[in-house]
C-alpha cells in the first residue's frame, strides 16, 4: 500500500475513534442525568455548599465558605502549604457587602 494510503487510513481510523468517543460523551451525558439529579437533590436537601474535592484542609473542603484570610490562617506570614491550595484561587470578591 502507498504511504499516503496508510496516512489517510490512520487519520480516518483516529477520526472514527474520536467520533465514537464524542458519541459516548453525548450518550453518557443523557445517561448520567439521573445521577446528576440525585446529587443535586442531596445538595438541596442537606443544604450543601461545596464539592467534596479536597478534604485535606477546612478551607479547601468548603472553598466557598472559607475565611477570606484563608492563606494566613495559621499565622500572619503563613504561606499556602496544602497542595490543593495551588489548584484553586481565593474566594472571589464578595458582591454582597
Amino acid at each position: 500500500m502507498r504511504q499516503s494510503s496508510w496516512f489517510f487510513f490512520g487519520i480516518t481510523a483516529e477520526a472514527i475513534v474520536l467520533s465514537l468517543l464524542l458519541l459516548h460523551a453525548a450518550s453518557s451525558e443523557n445517561a448520567q442525568q439521573s445521577s446528576l439529579a440525585q446529587k443535586a437533590a442531596l445538595v438541596k436537601n442537606l443544604r450543601l455548599t461545596d464539592l467534596c474535592l479536597f478534604t485535606e484542609a477546612r478551607y479547601t473542603r468548603h472553598l466557598s465558605q472559607a475565611d477570606l484570610n484563608t492563606a494566613f490562617q495559621d499565622h500572619p506570614l503563613s504561606l499556602e502549604h496544602f497542595p490543593s491550595g495551588s489548584f484553586t484561587q481565593p474566594n472571589l470578591p464578595n458582591e454582597a457587602p
Binding site: R2, Q3, S4, W6, F7, I11, E14, V17, L21, L22, H24, A25, S28, E29, Q32, S34, S35, Q38, K39, A40, A41, L42, V43, K44, N45, L46, R47, L48, T49, L51, C52, L53, F54, T55, E56, A57, R58, T60, R61, L63, S64, Q65, D67, L68, N69, Q73, F82, P83, S84, G85, S86, F87, T88, Q89, N91, L92, N94, E95, A96, P97
Partner: protein, 415 residues
Amino acid sequence: MNSWIEKQRYIIDFTISSLLRRKVKNIGLLALYTLIVFILASTMFFTYSIKKEARLILQGSPEIVVQKIVAGRHDLFPVAYIDDIKGIRGVADVEPRLWGYYYDSLVQANYTVMVPSRQIANSPSDARTTVVIDPNDPHAADVNKPMYEYDGAAPEAGTIVIGNGVARMREIGVGDYMPFMAADGEIMNLKVVGTLSAESELVSSDLMLLNDEDYRKLFGIDKQLVTDVVVSVKNPSEISTVASKIKKKLHDSRPIIRDEILRTYDSIFNWRGGMMIVVFSAAVLAFVIFAWDKASGLSAGERREIGILKAVGWETSDVIQMKFWEGTVVSLTAYFSGVILAYIHVFFTGSAVFEPALKGWSALYPNFALTPFVNAEQLTTLFFLTVVPYTVATIVPTWRAATIDPDSAMRHTGE
C-alpha cells in the same frame, strides 16, 4: 480534480518517505507533540467537566448562607440572631445549620459532620435511594422510602449515616459502630444505620449525618449556638439586596450568596492557579521550542533537499505543498492521538495522571466518574492552539528556502 488529488498523494508519499528517513527525530517529535496535546486536552476536559458538573449540582445550594465572623474567622452563630434576620423584609425563611469537621486520628482523615435539615425535594425520585439502609435494622425502612424517612428529625440518637468514602476507608458498613471522642473526653459509639450512595461521592464522600443532640454532645456546642444559618428569599432577584440588609443589621456577619458559591467553582482550576500555570507553561514552553526550531530555519540537509528538488523540476509551490503536508501529517496525527488519549485518561481512568496531585495530602479522596461534557468548541480551540501554529511554523522557513536559487541552496551545505 483527479489529477490534483493524485499529485497531492504523490507529494504525501514523498513527504512520508522523507519523514521516515529521519525516523528517530520525527518519531520523537511526534511523541512529544502528542504528549503536549494530551496534557492540554486532559486539562481542558477535566476542568470543563468539573466546572459544568459543579454548576449543575450546586444550583440547589442555599440562596444565602450567613456566617458570624470574629477576628476575621468563621465563628459559631448565635440563635438569637435568627429573629433579627427573620424581621428583614423579603426573607422567606431562616434555617440553622449544624456542621463541622472531625479529625479521625486513626486514619488521619477529616470528616464533615452534619445534622441534616428537613427535606426539601418533593419529587420522590430525587429524594430516594440515596441512603442504603440495613434490612436487618428494625428501625430502618426499606430502600424505596425517601432519603430521610425521619423527615428533618435526622438519624435517631446514637446512630449515624456515613458517606461512601468514609465507609470505604474505614471498611465499615451498616450495623457497625464508629467510636468518636467527644469534647468532654467521653467516647461516643455511634451505630452506622446507612451509607450515602457511591454515585453521590462527589458531594458526600466525607459526610457524616447525625442528630442534633449527638452533634452538640460530640463538639460541646451550646443550644444557643449553631454553625451558620441558611436564608431563603421570597423573590430570587432580591437575594443581593437581602444579603446587604443582613450585613447592615448584623455587622459581624458575612452573608455568602449562591452566585458566589457558583462563581467559586467557576474559577476553580483557573488558569492562574499555581499548579495549572506550571502544567500549562511546561506544555507551552515545549511547544514554543518546537515552533522556534522549525521557524528559525531549516537544517543543511533539508536545505540541500529543497535545492535538489528544485533542480529536478519541482516548483516553489510544490516544495511549499510538501512542507505543508509534512506539518499536517505530524500535527494531525499528534492532535487526534493526544485528544483520544486525553479522553480515555479523564473519563475512563479517572484522571490517573492528575490524581496524585489532586489528592494532595487528603487521606480521604472521593471516587467519582466525571460526566463527559465535551463540545466542538473545546476541540476547535485545541485544534487552533496546536495544529495551526505548527503547520504555519513549518511553512514559513520553507518559503524562504524554496524561493532561493537551487544552485546556491545546494552549494551552501556547510552552514
